[in-house]
């Protein structure tokens, strides 16, 4: 069951959500959600990274530029990082990124940060479904992809 929305051009539009997840916790949790046959919206494209601290804010910006309507960033709970302290550093970085995106007008509902552990298949299902629903409500993030030439000022 995928979420589809009638868009302005009358074609059904389906939100594209990109998820940057850490290999050790969230990816395993997502796997568990899958093997448990939990129903999840198929709109999420998963990108596996060794650790949440590998996430460069540029990944999120680039994802939006290239067609993502929403982004999920997820890793281990603090204290459980496979590399001990990766997610502590990531947390600081994400905090400022979150605040700055908000200040520059990116709706908070388009970016979800989460800690999902290897045993939290249910939580992953919720993160995926809730994010997809919120993004569906907001519509395509075409403004971010807008690339018309600056040219001479209009």
């Amino acid at each position: 069951m995928s979420i589809e929305v009638e868009s302005e051009t009358d074609q059904t539009w389906s939100p594209k959500v990109v998820a940057f997840v850490c290999n050790w916790c969230t990816y395993t949790g997502a796997d568990l959600a899958g093997t448990s046959r939990l129903k999840m919206d198929p709109n999420v494209r998963v990108i596996k990274l060794p650790c949440s601290s590998r996430v460069n804010p540029l990944f999120i910006i680039k994802a939006f530029e290239r067609g993502a309507d929403g982004v999920i960033v997820s890793g281990c709970h603090t204290g459980d990082c496979h590399y001990s302290t990766g997610n502590y550093h990531a947390r600081r970085r994400f905090a400022i990124l979150h605040d700055l995106l908000h200040f520059m007008g990116v709706d908070e509902n388009r970016v979800t940060f989460a800690w999902v552990s290897a045993s939290e298949g249910n939580k992953w299902q919720q993160v995926v479904n809730e994010t997809t629903a919120r993004v569906a409500e907001l519509g395509p993030f075409s403004e971010f992809q807008g690339r018309q030439s600056a040219g001479a000022p209009q």
Binding site: L58, R91, V106, D107, F144, G146
Partner: protein, 290 residues
């Protein structure tokens, strides 16, 4: 001669330094001075028009300045934080620079357009200044002036932006950034932007398009401000350098406030204080994380 001029003359005569980087009167108002001879020291000034943060000239990759030899630099307390940042990040060795700090009662927002500090003319970055009596110095000069008048213009602008909806803020920044021609003057003028190869110039792959398009301009400014988080000293050189008058100071201040609020850290003039992104606290806020 003033205290500053006398000190400069002495440092040069005794060959303690080869150049004193300070301020002088130029044809268009106060401008940076590079004094290499003792008799030139009398051109040094320090007044409310001395807005520019001179720390950028200490970047060792500015060969034309580095080749002059060991430098002394005139700083206000706020500028000293940039020098501290460069020391902290090992761009400058503490022993290789003589820091002449001037006690400061504030500078103008637009030098040359007013003759005294008022709530309208004072630089927005002087509001809440805690370093009028600088702490990082080899020499500290001048009497401590009274606190500067507070210019609340920027605080009001940020508050107004925060009251807007997401979509209104998006439109505001898209409009402001539409003037960006990607000259990168903001980066070149910034004392803390000293990367030999900027992330925007990496081409394999090209993370940030170099073109002046709405999405690339937004990506560029977002990343530059993020790379400055916890390092930016709010000297507003970026805003001053921007030939399109984009209010970059709003972004700088907003992120600096977020860093202070979340991590209890403000750019420090003590090089031994660790910057926030090399460190963490187990109790850091995570209200935004599901």
């Amino acid at each position: 001669m003033t205290e500053l001029q006398e000190l400069a003359r002495q440092l040069l005569t005794e060959k303690t330094v080869n150049v004193v980087i300070g301020y002088e009167e130029g044809p268009r108002g106060v401008r940076p001075a590079f004094i290499t001879a003792p008799e030139q020291a009398s051109s040094l000034v320090f007044n409310i028009h001395c807005v520019q943060n001179l720390a950028a000239y200490l970047n060792p990759r500015r060969k034309q300045v580095a080749q002059l030899g060991k430098a002394a630099i005139v700083v206000k307390g706020c500028d000293a934080r940039a020098v501290a940042g460069m020391i902290r990040e090992q761009q400058v060795e503490r022993a290789n620079v003589v820091i002449i700090a001037l006690r400061c009662g504030g500078v103008l927002q637009n030098p040359g357009t007013a003759s005294e500090l008022t709530a309208e003319t004072t630089s927005v970055r002087c509001a809440g200044c805690t370093v009028r009596d600088p702490k990082l110095f080899d020499y500290v000069l001048g009497e401590l002036p009274p606190e500067p008048p507070v210019n609340t213009h920027r605080v009001e602008q940020i508050a107004a932006l925060e009251r807007m909806t997401s979509a209104e803020r998006w439109n505001f920044w898209t409009a402001q950034l539409s003037r960006c021609v990607r000259c990168h003057a903001c980066r070149e003028a910034c004392p803390m932007c000293f990367c030999v190869k900027c992330t925007a110039e990496k081409t394999q792959p090209q993370w940030i398009d170099p073109s002046s398009t709405p999405r690339a301009n937004r990506a560029w400014q977002t990343m530059r401000v993020l790379h400055q988080a916890g390092r930016c000293v709010d000297c507003l050189e970026c805003e001053r350098a921007c030939p399109e008058h984009i209010p970059l100071g709003l972004l700088a201040r907003y992120v600096a406030d977020a860093v202070e609020r979340r991590f209890d850290y403000a750019a420090s003039d003590d090089p031994s204080v660790a910057a926030p992104f090399g460190a963490y606290r187990p109790g850091d806020e995570e209200e935004f994380i599901r």
